[in-house]
Symmetry: C2
Subunit: 432 residues, 2 copies
């Protein structure tokens, strides 16, 4: 089956999946969890094969670690499916109900988006997470994983397909793509695919964004800032700076640049240097910073760089406005924090920083779907439309307008024989 046929099959399945009985979806998710448990041996053995080939090909150790899919990982994805089962049914939820006129009722109800294309790199758990999220939200899905994980992905997709289709989910709802050429082809299928979700490195996501006319949910960069205000509690500022930078350096919500108000620079910077040295973080500072601490010089390029490493750039600013302007110029609209005891400065910062997540006295690392209590996470978006910041299941949903009439025509309203009432109704859509 070529990619266009696969996408067409997914599109066909998506129509019936969108109208699928919630109980069937729940049963199917149970069946997928059971099947993953039952097929552990096959899955782990396929993964061992992938690990062996990748080790022979000298894949870097961190990538080998991401590729590994063992019993513990299987337990994790099964636990994920169980918590997904516990979430309320997301489809056909009434969002608004209005009587346009007597006997003419308009409902806005949630509906699946349709066909989602997911491209991810080495981690096979992404395949399980995203496909079960799509199933719960009634979306068909095209999956393309990293070639290093080809054997693992093949068995996982097969297990999920078989278990779900046996539980009466429309056949064809999940399609596994296997070649790099398939990705290129998929990115051009804008009449069949409604949304692309890329998971993986930033370069990879940027490549996807630049090569598709299909909407993409995600973020290419995570250049996050911590601004230490003139009214900051400096001990707190150290704790937040260290956590934001060091708690996990390789992730999008780690801080890359610290902005420091000049009034507190003399006191704060030496303490910061001490705390970050203990964590082996390299500091690159602006000219002003280097008047206070002995660090290498930061260039214009540093403000634009997501290090994803034990490196941080530091800039001294002369005002809250200057901090906001720096963030809006160099940031990626992901997550930015202010440390201050001044409520008004916090309010200004949170209003004027044009990012999906703006924090007062908290680490940038909190920017995450699980920590936000969203349940399962689809991804983190720096888009300005549809969904922004950490995105839960609702990122896979849109809505549909349903109008129930008794034969009304517009001509009667156009000639003034009838008037709209536009009365809000307190009831849910329910036709059968």
């Amino acid at each position: 089956m070529d990619i266009r046929q696969a996408a067409r099959a997914a599109k066909t399945a998506s129509i019936r999946l969108a109208a699928c009985d919630p109980q069937i979806k729940q049963t199917a998710l149970e069946a997928v969890a059971t099947a993953l448990d039952a097929e552990r041996e096959k899955i782990v053995s396929a993964n061992r094969q992938d690990l062996r080939i990748s080790a022979d090909n000298d894949l870097a150790p961190p990538l080998l670690k991401r590729l590994k899919f063992d019993d513990a990982k299987i337990d994790e994805v099964i636990a994920g499916i169980k918590s997904l089962i516990n979430l309320p049914e997301p489809v056909c939820v009434t969002q608004s109900a209005i009587e346009l006129d007597e006997g003419l009722e308009l409902y806005r109800v949630s509906s699946p988006i349709g066909v989602i294309g997911v491209v991810f790199e080495s981690r096979p758990d992404a395949l399980v997470q995203i496909s079960t999220l799509c199933l719960k939200s009634g979306n068909a899905v095209l999956l393309k994983g990293g070639s290093e994980a080809a054997n693992t992905n093949r068995i996982l997709a097969d297990v999920i397909q078989k278990a779900s289709e046996k539980a009466a989910i429309p056949a064809g709802w999940l399609q596994l793509l296997e070649t790099r050429e398939d990705v290129g082809a998929m990115l051009r299928l804008d009449e069949l695919i409604d949304l692309i979700i890329p998971r993986g490195s930033n370069d990879f996501v940027r490549y996807i964004m630049e090569n598709s006319s299909i909407p993409v949910l995600g973020h290419a960069d995570g250049i996050c800032h911590v601004y230490v205000d003139r009214d900051a509690d400096l001990d707190m500022a150290i704790r937040i700076a260290v956590d934001s930078k060091c708690q996990y350096v390789a992730v999008c919500n780690a801080a890359e640049t610290l902005l420091v108000h000049e009034h507190v620079a003399a006191e704060f910077l030496p303490a910061l240097q001490e705390a970050l040295s203990a964590r082996e973080v390299e500091i690159r500072g602006c000219g002003k910073t280097r008047e206070f601490i002995d660090v290498t010089s930061a260039s214009e390029k540093d403000w634009q760089t997501e290090y994803l490493d034990l490196i941080v750039s530091v800039k001294v600013v002369d005002s809250l406005s200057a901090a906001v302007e720096h963030i809006n110029t160099y940031g990626s609209g992901h997550t930015d924090a202010i440390v201050t005891t001044n409520r008004r400065s916090a309010a200004i910062f949170m209003n004027l920083v044009d990012s999906g997540n703006v924090f007062w006295n908290a680490s940038t690392r909190f920017s995450d779907g699980f920590r936000y209590g969203l349940g399962a996470e689809v991804g983190i978006s720096t888009n300005k439309i549809h969904a922004r910041g950490p995105v839960g299941l609702e990122g896979l949903l849109i809505y549909k307008w349903k109008l129930l009439g008794k034969g009304q025509t517009v001509s009667l309203y156009a000639d003034g024989s009838r008037q709209f009432t536009h009365k809000i109704l307190k009831k849910d859509f329910n036709l059968i």
Copy 2:
């Protein structure tokens, strides 16, 4: 000022406009309404100039009519602004509030999208509507109107700019573009412009969609269907078919194709022919249709055509499923209606037809923001993300996550010293 500078000025203004006091926006809208009223003479005289030039250039009469901006039109746009003033403030509305842990509160609040690019053809009232919608929702806007309306647009933009900026709206929030080259350049400014709203002919909208990597809100086609089910009340079906086709033929929510269940074809089609002949509608039928009534033959191309004219294609189908499949194959995901007395058939149709608007026993012409009671209408979208169907002010909004802490770091949660509470809060975000 070139287009990139204009967009950059709009971007800068957008940051402050997003945080603008609601009262200032209301005062500015009042000032715009007053100024439009005060400058009637200038506006009408500029428009007369445009009309004269266009008449000399042999612009078609329907386009001249759309270009006309007289006292009555000014009254209309002023009334529109008054009703916009009466809508509740849309920005910084709390959408969710959750306690992540004691003293760590997360709020999702509505926020403007940022910079909106609007491209419209001859109607100058679109300039006033869209710019005031953007003002109310806190978005900066780049406007490009039809060149036939150049003088009218220039004075309108000038009046709105001056009145709003005098009322303390950040300068630069509204930019008028004047050349066709500007549009091409604007479509490439994806780092400065967040959303494009094209208003105008379908070919025009399709051109915009195909030539920009910026998200576009709108619809290229409006191929709407009325399906007359085997259980239809046939008198009602005639009324709905006639209204859907004829009430206003040149619009996107007019029906282009009627699907008729074979069980009712013999009775329905002659009555339909009679009703549509009276309205001078040309019928193009499939083979089966032509067994019942004497009409020209419909080709494959007819099912794909938005006539926007007194022409309708008719197809006899053998089942509800065949109707659904025809609509999902040839429709544009805009608006489709079923006429039936069978509640179950209606439910199936409304679940399986993959369109933004699905109607039971009502004319497709109801698909409209004003009729839906949305207040001001931004446009009608056939997108599958962000906003679908008629879009009100909320189409110009996204949200921002605001986290209020007391110095919390993620490391404490990662090592298990603290647990998230994820308790829903019943309060609104309020920092000052």
